[in-house]
């Protein structure tokens, strides 16, 4: 209540200010967000890119969600849930009164249908893998069945999931876009075009989509959450070069820079006193790292990998990108549960690194290849790493390629070292397990996988499974401790050299209001569209 009142005060103060200055270009209760790249689809089963991820979160709701501005899970479309003591059964009671934009009330059938649709290979969903713990997943994803035996509609307002293994991340999975319920009748009617005319159940509904130019959301008047959304309308303008979008923001034509502050103008904008209070800094669930292929010499020797960890001058790299990141010493980012703030990691020590290399039998170093994405600033970062490695005698030839080519080389194991920037792991959900399985676990160390270090430690896989079996919310701390151990153990083996964690800097127009945390929400990027407001 206090927050609401103080925001009202702030809003009226801003309204007074606005009355004194020329009227802003956009109408009251409406805001303009710019993006450079197209919005490909707004189908929650398919959308998985920078632009559409948060847009979909405002068009659709899931069983679970996060408290705005935090990583704290809360029931959303579910009114309550129950977890069986062995952690293999999750039962959700649906809220009454949640309706799709076509007016129909949401039922448990919709929940079941929507997840089966995602897992069904015909949908070609990038999210199918998230539901792997539900019973019957293999049959559906293999195309032998269309119904997941592990989802039961108990009654129209109750849905039960039976899992093939205890899965502590399951509540997060129920908050991820791919699990959002869609209305079957509309998917059947629109077919493959559902993604361009989505019918959701979220705070906003789609009002207009002019391909390549504009997507407009308008308030869903029947939204079940009181007082939300705070805006009447959001206009997403597509194809906007970030440099120009910044000029337009400064002239009051744009409210939020969807792609952030252009790197080339970052320092100038950040240090300009006129922008004080308009730039919000926050952590991001991101780590930039160098992978070393542990399957091939010389990186099959742990001493070589540790030497690389000690050779990289992370502070210098952070400076190269204008301090838009903090140095990292472990796979998890600081804002992720399970991060070990007491862990010191491998300090920068070229002499020690040389010693380790000599012990590993490479007193004169060796020659290798470092792959990197070819978009700025990644080539510059890769060059800095190259120089650091040269200082200890490792001659790394740079291969800067298009993103898809680097991903290919990593997945087939032909790249000895990869700088992950531009393709790096930004968490799908705020849980440490999301930083393990596909990128550091045995499951990802396969042809076409994302574990580019090809690191596979059966013992850690076992520990990970045990940690994820701690499904009781009361054992949260114990589970975090288990994950902390796993990631520190990984650092002993050093398949990665973690380099930095990107910080987020969200710039907004003065008229956009809301708690600071909403502008650096860990899940909704760039901002929490449902909860921010504008000065009238």
């Amino acid at each position: 209540m206090r927050r609401i009142r103080s925001m009202l005060l702030a809003a009226s103060a801003a309204a007074l200010l606005a009355a004194a200055s020329p009227a802003p270009a956009s109408a009251a209760g409406s805001m303009v967000v710019t993006y450079k790249d197209d919005v490909s689809t707004l189908d929650p089963a398919i959308g998985y890119d920078w632009q559409n991820w948060s847009m979909i979160k405002s068009l659709f709701d899931g069983l679970m969600d996060y408290k705005p501005g935090t990583t704290e899970l809360t029931p959303d479309l579910a009114e309550s849930y129950e977890i069986s003591p062995d952690g293999t059964q999750y039962t959700f009671k649906l809220r009454q009164g949640a309706k799709f934009h076509n007016g129909r009330e949401l039922t448990a059938e919709d929940v079941k249908y929507s997840i089966e649709r995602v897992v069904n290979p015909k949908t070609q969903s990038p999210g199918a893998g998230f539901f792997g713990s539900i019973k019957g997943w293999e049959e559906v994803s293999g195309g032998q069945s269309e119904t997941l035996s592990g989802i039961t509609v108990v009654d129209p307002r109750t849905v039960r999931f039976d899992l093939s293994r205890p899965d502590a991340t399951f509540l997060h999975v129920m908050a991820i876009n791919f699990s959002f319920p869609v209305p079957k009748e509309e998917v059947d009617r629109l077919g493959a075009d559902f993604g361009k005319s989505p019918v959701g159940n979220g705070a906003f509904k789609l009002a207009e989509w002019t391909l390549g130019q504009r997507v407009v959301f308008e308030r869903n008047p029947d939204y079940w959450k009181q007082g939300l959304p705070k805006l009447d309308r959001i206009e997403f303008q597509i194809g906007q070069e970030p440099t120009v979008a910044l000029l337009r923001l400064q002239r009051g034509e744009v409210d939020i820079l969807g792609d952030g502050i252009p790197p080339a103008r970052f320092l100038e904008v950040k240090n300009d006193p006129a922008n004080e209070g308009l730039i919000v800094e926050g952590g991001q669930l991101h780590t930039g790292y160098v992978t070393m292929n542990v399957k091939t010499p010389p990186f099959d020797n742990v001493k070589v990998r540790q030497a690389v960890n000690m050779a990289i001058n992370k502070d210098r790299i952070v400076k190269i990108i204008n301090n838009r990141a903090v140095p990292a010493n472990q796979p998890l980012p600081p804002s992720m549960p399970g991060y070990d703030k007491n862990y010191k990691g491998y300090a920068y020590d070229p002499e020690g690194a040389k010693k380790l290399l000599a012990e590993a039998g490479h007193p004169n170093g060796f020659e290798t290849e470092l792959y990197a994405n070819n978009t700025d600033p990644n080539p510059r970062i890769a060059q800095a790493i190259q120089q650091d490695l040269a200082a200890i005698g490792i001659k790394a030839n740079l291969k800067t390629l298009a993103q898809s080519a680097v991903i290919q080389a990593g997945g087939e194991g032909s790249a000895p070292m990869i700088w992950s920037g531009g393709m790096a792991w930004i968490a799908d959900f705020p849980d440490p397990s999301n930083f393990y399985g596909p990128i550091l676990g045995c499951g990802g160390a396969v042809q076409g996988g994302w574990n580019w270090a090809w690191y596979c430690n059966e013992e850690l896989d076992k520990m990970a499974a045990e940690a994820d079996a701690l499904t009781d919310p009361a054992k949260k701390a114990e589970r975090e401790e288990a994950w902390r151990k796993i990631f520190i153990r990984i650092m002993e083996d050093a398949p990665w050299a973690p380099v930095f964690n990107e910080q987020r800097f969200t710039m907004h127009a003065p008229r956009v209001q809301g708690d600071e945390a909403l502008f650096v929400d860990p899940v909704h990027i760039p901002v929490h569209y449902d909860d921010v407001s504008v000065a009238q």
């Binding site: 070609q124 391909l211 390549g212 070069e241 337009r248 898809s404 997945g411």
Partner: protein
């Protein structure tokens, strides 16, 4: 004339088939896998193979190519992998903006190129000739990105004469068209100048002058008609180039043309869009050249088709 048209159309079909073949081969030679871009980073190998099968990408490349051609013959450009929309819809939605920018750009190219070329040719060797040619060189060499931002900054941000990017009214069109026009106009100017210089040396021009025609009339009526022929051919080529999109200019000005679509598709190896845009551009080049060839006899009656 009819025979010329028929033979050119027959040639065009072969050119277009060749273009599809090369583009298709290139798309598969890229060391990257479109399926993995669709499947994302959480996909298990089963999911990846399922998607590959759904899209028919597990078949031999010649079979895929044959099926692409079959569908193409029925007017079906396929569906985008990432946008999950018909490629024809995506291209059609960007066609008006592309055509408009092309028209605007060619207008400025002609305006700048012809005036600069004629001005310089009639003052050959003098300071003004050299100045114009240096300026045209600067225009040609200026990076589109820089020129675009500069014009945007001065005319839109500082002077407020035009909107800061976007699409909709004629005022939105001026700056992007001018950016392309300055660059292209430099080429046009240089070609126009040398062509004009050649023509002005010819006997019939001396005759025209000898019979007492005003210099203005000699240059703009008698000489221009012959000197402009290479420019007509250049417009034909430009139509093709602009149809494949002016990526950088579109991006600076937020202009929803085909170039942005193509650029984004290349990043994620969205083969159906890449094929569709390439084909559209190829068709435009073929048509542009054909039109240029057809127009030539009207300008220069000595040319017979």
């Amino acid at each position: 004339m009819v025979r010329f048209l028929l033979s050119r159309l027959a040639q065009s079909v072969f050119i277009l088939i060749g273009v599809t073949m090369i583009t298709f081969a290139l798309a598969f030679l890229v060391p990257a896998d479109p399926v993995r871009m669709i499947a994302g980073r959480n996909a298990t190998p089963t999911v990846v193979e399922n998607i590959r099968h759904q899209l028919g990408l597990d078949r031999p490349i010649p079979v895929q190519y044959a099926s692409y051609l079959t569908r193409l013959a029925q007017g079906d450009l396929g569906r985008s992998y990432m946008q999950r929309t018909d490629v024809s819809t995506l291209i059609a939605s960007r066609l008006p903006a592309t055509l408009l920018l092309m028209a605007g750009a060619i207008f400025f190219e002609l305006l700048i190129g012809l005036s600069a070329g004629i001005w310089a040719a009639t003052r050959r060797g003098r300071f003004s000739d050299k100045a114009v040619m240096v300026a045209s060189f600067v225009g040609v060499s200026a990076p589109h990105f820089l020129l675009g931002l500069l014009l945007l900054y001065v005319f839109a941000n500082l002077l407020g004469l035009f909107p800061l990017g976007g699409y909709g009214t004629w005022r939105h069109l001026v700056l992007p068209a001018l950016t392309l026009g300055i660059a292209g106009g430099g080429w046009y100017g240089r070609v126009m100048r040398s062509s004009m210089v050649d023509v002005l040396r010819q006997d019939y021009i001396r005759t025209a002058r000898a019979k007492g025609l005003k210099e203005r009339k000699v240059v703009l009526v008698h000489a221009l008609r012959n000197a402009i022929l290479p420019i007509v051919a250049m417009i034909g080529l430009d139509i093709g180039i602009f149809m494949s999109g002016a990526v950088v200019v579109e991006s600076v000005y937020g202009w929803p043309g085909i170039g942005q679509l193509a650029w984004q598709a290349i990043q994620v190896i969205d083969i159906p869009i890449i094929m569709g845009v390439t084909l559209t551009a190829a068709v435009a080049i073929v048509i542009g050249n054909l039109v240029a060839d057809l127009v030539t006899p009207f300008i220069d009656p000595r040319v017979r088709l």
